[in-house]
């Protein structure tokens, strides 16, 4: 997460306002689950970068769904229909791992530091002024990951 001191004052204030709004959104509880040891865990990536395959549905502003990205996706097959102008795309244009660290996860799995990389990863549109509207998609996504043997999800916020 970027330091607020590095943002334009209007953007920093927007972030503070969003934080205050999010803090007021209802959460039933704060569940905590102890995962299996990392060396045995299957891990999926979830990014809010608005990435998807070129032949997949593009994200719309306020999109309340997610897109599926296979672990063996060719980075050339990914595009990013993120609406925000307020984040740095130059690093992603150079190296998809800075947003979706597919190569790094595979390396950790090959080294035995994690058990396995999920066959599927997931993407949502992060610039959502009301993320509570993603609640249904999040529940569906959690069930899908559970059904496919995923133990942990690594979120890469954009």
């Amino acid at each position: 997460m970027v330091l607020l001191s590095e943002l334009h004052p209007e953007e920093a204030q927007h972030m503070r306002n969003m934080g205050e709004r999010f803090a007021q959104m209802p959460l039933d509880d704060t569940p905590f689950v102890t995962p299996p040891p990392l060396a045995e865990a299957t891990i999926a990536l979830i990014t809010s970068a608005g990435l998807h395959r070129r032949d997949d549905r593009p994200f719309r502003f306020g999109d309340q769904g997610y897109r599926i990205i296979p672990n063996d996706v060719d980075p050339a097959d990914l595009v990013q229909t993120q609406v925000s102008v307020n984040f740095d795309r130059t690093h992603y244009q150079r190296d998809v791992n800075v947003v979706l660290p597919l190569d790094r996860m595979r390396e950790l799995a090959q080294a035995g530091e994690i058990g396995a990389v999920s066959e599927w990863h997931y993407s949502v549109l992060g610039s959502n002024p009301n993320p509570y509207l993603l609640k249904d998609a999040a529940a569906d996504l959690a069930q899908r990951m559970r059904d496919s043997g995923v133990d942990c999800a690594m979120l890469t916020p954009v």
Binding site: V2, A76, V83, V85, D88, D95, N130, L133, P157
Partner: protein, 242 residues
């Protein structure tokens, strides 16, 4: 993680640093006994890039009296460098609007037509060729991003160089290119129309600090509010009219 927005793993082309970020997050799974927030202790090795980049391609002074011609001159000048980047990286990020890299001229036509006052409701006739995947006016936002991707991939082509910071890239585009002038012209056209969701879209095109007449989002459009407000803005930007 004290990195700029859009760089959750810190920096491109640095596998050691990216792996360190991942390991630090994953270790929390083995140590945390309750919901936990922890700071990542290292700065990005490029110092977030501020001030280390200068465009190595000499651009002509933008001719604001004929923005479309000025845009096409810039695209022609940048094309060899864009193609070199695409070849060396084996990929391009163009395609957000539905246009292919070979259809970049149509993307220019769309952006230029909107800058020159053709409105935001219909796809301009001169830009009808690509299989656009968004309706107007939101199509314009992604066409702009495709054009920005073309420029950015062109001017960051030299291997071994650090990419520019987001602020350096914005500064170059908005202060030294016809593309920046076209985007500011679009901003003024949006102000003339005055619709609130369009002002919101201006905030998707022009970053804060590069629009001189107050907040780029306008005064009241930053947060569309609850589900109803978001639904209205989404429908409007998707071209649906009551």
């Amino acid at each position: 993680m004290p990195f700029p927005l859009g760089r959750p793993l810190g920096v491109a082309d640095d596998s050691e640093f990216q792996t360190d970020v991942l390991r630090s997050a994953l270790r929390l799974l083995e140590t945390a006994t309750q919901p936990t927030i922890a700071d990542f202790p290292r700065q990005a090795p490029d110092g977030n890039g501020n001030g280390v980049w200068a465009c190595s391609i000499t651009m002509p002074e933008p001719d604001v009296s004929d923005l479309e011609s000025a845009l096409r001159r810039e695209v022609d000048l940048l094309m060899p460098w864009y193609e070199e980047t695409r070849r060396s990286r084996g990929r391009t990020t163009i395609g957000m609007s539905g246009a292919t890299p070979e259809q970049i001229d149509a993307v220019v036509s769309l952006v230029a037509a909107c800058a020159e006052g053709e409105g935001f409701s219909e796809v301009p006739a001169a830009a009808s060729e690509p299989n656009w995947i968004h309706p107007m006016p939101m199509l314009l936002r992604y066409a702009v991003e495709d054009l920005r991707a073309f420029y950015q991939e062109a001017v960051t082509s030299r291997p071994g160089t650090r990419p520019p910071s987001q602020h350096d890239m914005h500064t170059w585009i908005f202060e030294q290119t016809a593309l920046g002038q076209a985007l500011l012209q679009i901003g003024h056209r949006i102000a003339e129309v005055g619709d609130q969701p369009l002002l919101m879209m201006r905030g998707f095109i022009i970053p804060e600090g590069f629009w001189v007449d107050g907040p780029t989002w306008g005064q009241q459009t930053r947060n569309p509010g609850g589900a109803q407000g978001l639904s209205h803005a989404t429908a409007y930007l998707a071209g649906e009219r009551p």
